[in-house]
Symmetry: D2
């Protein structure tokens, strides 16, 4: 069966966005890319720093509220509906809840054919890239590096610690059926 969605999970500054752009470049068909960042951008500004929405503490800790979860569930169903309607869709997400985050996607996916990809990056390297980006709260990379993979089951994993985004993307593309 043809892969309709690729869901990529990894901590902040692990290199997901770069891999997604490379995937869009190397895959012959046009794939749409969405992710937790574009979802947060779609929320009202007041939810982007609130108890009900998403809050990023000075140490990089991330809190998610009830309104965020409710909108996220609807957003997930919509993204899956795009794939059912014929689009190929790449998602990059940060599974703050590990296995329970994956289950939220699985509930929306039902029987749709998905390729699950884990993006690893050594915590200290990711923390260094966070400094190099300059647009993230320091500490997110280190605090998320391991916890987001907790109990998650993948079809394949890539590691950006010593491997370029484009090379990781080619490895993933080879698994797309």
């Amino acid at each position: 069966m043809a892969t309709r969605m690729i869901i990529i999970n990894g901590g902040s500054s692990s290199g997901k966005s770069g891999i997604v752009r490379c995937l869009q470049a190397v895959l012959p068909d046009p794939w749409l890319a969405f992710g937790v960042d574009s979802f947060v951008d779609a929320m009202p500004a007041r939810m982007q720093a609130s108890d009900a929405g998403i809050e990023i503490a000075a140490d990089g800790g991330v809190s998610i509220g009830a309104d965020f979860r409710a909108l996220e569930a609807a957003w997930m169903e919509g993204v899956v509906a795009m794939a059912r309607a014929g689009a190929r869709v790449i998602i990059d997400d940060v599974f703050l809840g590990g296995a329970s985050s994956q289950q939220r996607w699985q509930k929306a996916l039902s029987e749709l054919d998905v390729l699950w990809v884990g993006v690893r990056c050594e915590s200290t390297v990711a923390a260094g890239r966070e400094v190099a980006r300059g647009d993230r709260v320091q500490g997110m990379a280190a605090s998320q590096a391991d916890v987001v993979h907790d109990g998650v089951i993948y079809d394949l994993e890539v590691d950006t610690t010593h491997t370029e985004s484009l090379v990781c993307a080619r490895t993933i593309a080879a698994c797309v059926s």
Copy 2:
């Protein structure tokens, strides 16, 4: 019946994005905002300047290809699915095809309750704001100002020529049931 979607149509630099952010601020419930810009951002980079995707000429003319239309149809279905799943959704779009663009949305919407909003702005004023933005190809505002409203039927229209975004947003919010 409660309004599940607000679809806002207007030419480039007519002030849609500002109205959307104000709507998100004044509406008491959290609304998600998507639009043609976020859709184009989701496409592969190579489609953002190609015959198959979207192409913006030096004079600001916009051409849309077959791949763009196919992905757009799936994207529309997905966005509508988000609203059916319980999210409130605001869309800002540029109906380059006028009435035929509206029909594409209506096909995806089926019986969902939508508020259709037209955003007008005098062509010369929109062209001036295009200069002030500095990030758009000159000429888009003028070439789109009228054609995008051709044959489109609205629940209400606002005009940003002499009215601030926040005031327009309050007028729209008053029509949300």
Copy 3:
């Protein structure tokens, strides 16, 4: 004597940036544009939210530290040196200290020929545009609207409350010798 610099002062969300881009478009010679935003972008990330640098409170209040002032003085001298070396330079600034901010520029300017421009915008209108922008802390526009003009002497003032950026820019351009 030919105008070498245009210094534009106004509160947050009063419309300075739009006027600057329009000025660059309508002035026949090429003018370089710098401002307090590009200066803050040039600082280390850690100074962009600290006692020693610049700090923006939850209510939009802005605090400036000693390191910021020292770097700013050197930056002002450098920008003036660009103008002395033959570049035409537009600056947009927020005179949080009113007349004392203007004096800091005058110290760096010595006898260079400058056009001083004040940008006014009614506080409630600026606050509404702050909501429409969506990328500023709410409250900055209102808190800065009047105080930045306190004791400042201008060659001309424009008011964006009811006048488009491009029209304001043409008024300013007519005063450039």
Copy 4:
């Protein structure tokens, strides 16, 4: 004598910006960062795609016009004046003219104490990172990778092919006196 400026030269997508942000983070004093990108942003929009300004061809080739060169000379003098006035300044530049680009800086610098840094990156790796960034014309990285270093004399060189930005930054910081 204390280092007043660090001038970093490398091709597009060689990793200069990441190194600059890491340098700002690891150096104990506050350093201001400017570069060819912030200079181009300061130019009128019409010069950002013109014969007189800067033009980027579909293959990533970059052409520089006479107006660009004139403004650049004044900008260089101003940046050096900032350093003379007491600021510490990091510049990232792309020496399209190799040694002749370095001479333009030397003319402005006179006797100011500068640390010259070359940033190398294998052409194919830089080209891959260009794909991962997604915001650059494909081909710039490969076409600039070697030519920008032609005849340029450095105090030290770093290579981002297999070394993280933060590690490169620490190597550079150790040479700052």
